[in-house]
Symmetry: C2
Subunit: 124 residues, 2 copies
DNA sequence: CGTTAGCTACTTCACGTGTAGTAGATAAGA
DNA sequence: TCTTATCTACTACACGTGAAGTAGCTAACG
């Protein structure tokens, strides 16, 4: 599984959300203030193609239409694994950090607990 | 708050753990298989000095002894914030990912819940 | 006191990443 | 059909990062 850079991940995010999209459509998912130049997005898509994270599915007019090859969750797993490596492979310090910075609410935790129980029920 | 790279963070980790240390001592915290050259660690320490994440406290023989200026938790916060940005600022998808990959146990969640309650008690 | 092991200070280098420009192909509207 | 807007393919470049070499200083040991 390849490692994707921040901007590459944002391009993937657009594709995961839109399903299929042209470079122009991907570019337009960025808020104006932070929108990269058309050719910048193009470069990212091209690099993602080389990494086989993305493929062209068809052509509309003279524009190619792309779709994601790798899934959002597999990419996210990679990101989280990288992060966890920094936290010594244990989740607690990460959780503690999330709590401390106020990002993690009781509801979030309850939700996570539910997910764990469900997962255990499925594959115990 | 500056952004630290992966290797820079590993050097910081050594300093957070050891308190004060020379370049040699920092280098030796790396497992042999992944241990960078002495001068590589030295380079990292210099860069951290420039970023004011680290400072020299004294000299033993001809070797400088360093200590961390920024705290582990502030650095970790920065890392987590960067990660959360990718997850759209919400913790749930991140939690879901942790659960799915089996990194998050029920105990971890219970522990997090305790932390949140404690935090609420302190600054409600 | 001289030699040597270790350390510092500085330099170098390659690769990844973000950023964007340009030339030429193509399509779509006047 | 001619012109213009758009897209592609390729190129360029600067900066951050990981990696390490070298020259010269320093200290410690014989």
């Amino acid at each position: 599984m390849v490692r994707l850079s921040k901007l590459e991940l944002q391009v993937m995010e657009a594709l995961w959300t839109l399903g299929r999209a042209s470079v122009r459509e991907i570019q337009e998912t960025f808020a104006e203030k932070v929108r990269p130049a058309y050719t910048t997005v193009q470069t990212m898509v091209y690099r993602l193609e080389v990494k086989q994270a993305v493929r062209r599915v068809k052509k509309i007019g003279n524009a190619h239409v792309f779709e994601a090859v790798i899934s959002r969750s597999s990419a996210q797993r990679r990101v989280v694994d990288d992060l966890l490596a920094f936290f010594g492979g244990r989740s607690q310090p990460l959780m503690a950090q999330l709590v401390e910075s106020g990002h993690l609410t009781l509801d979030d935790v309850k939700e996570a607990e539910k997910l764990i129980r469900r997962q255990k029920a499925v594959k115990p």
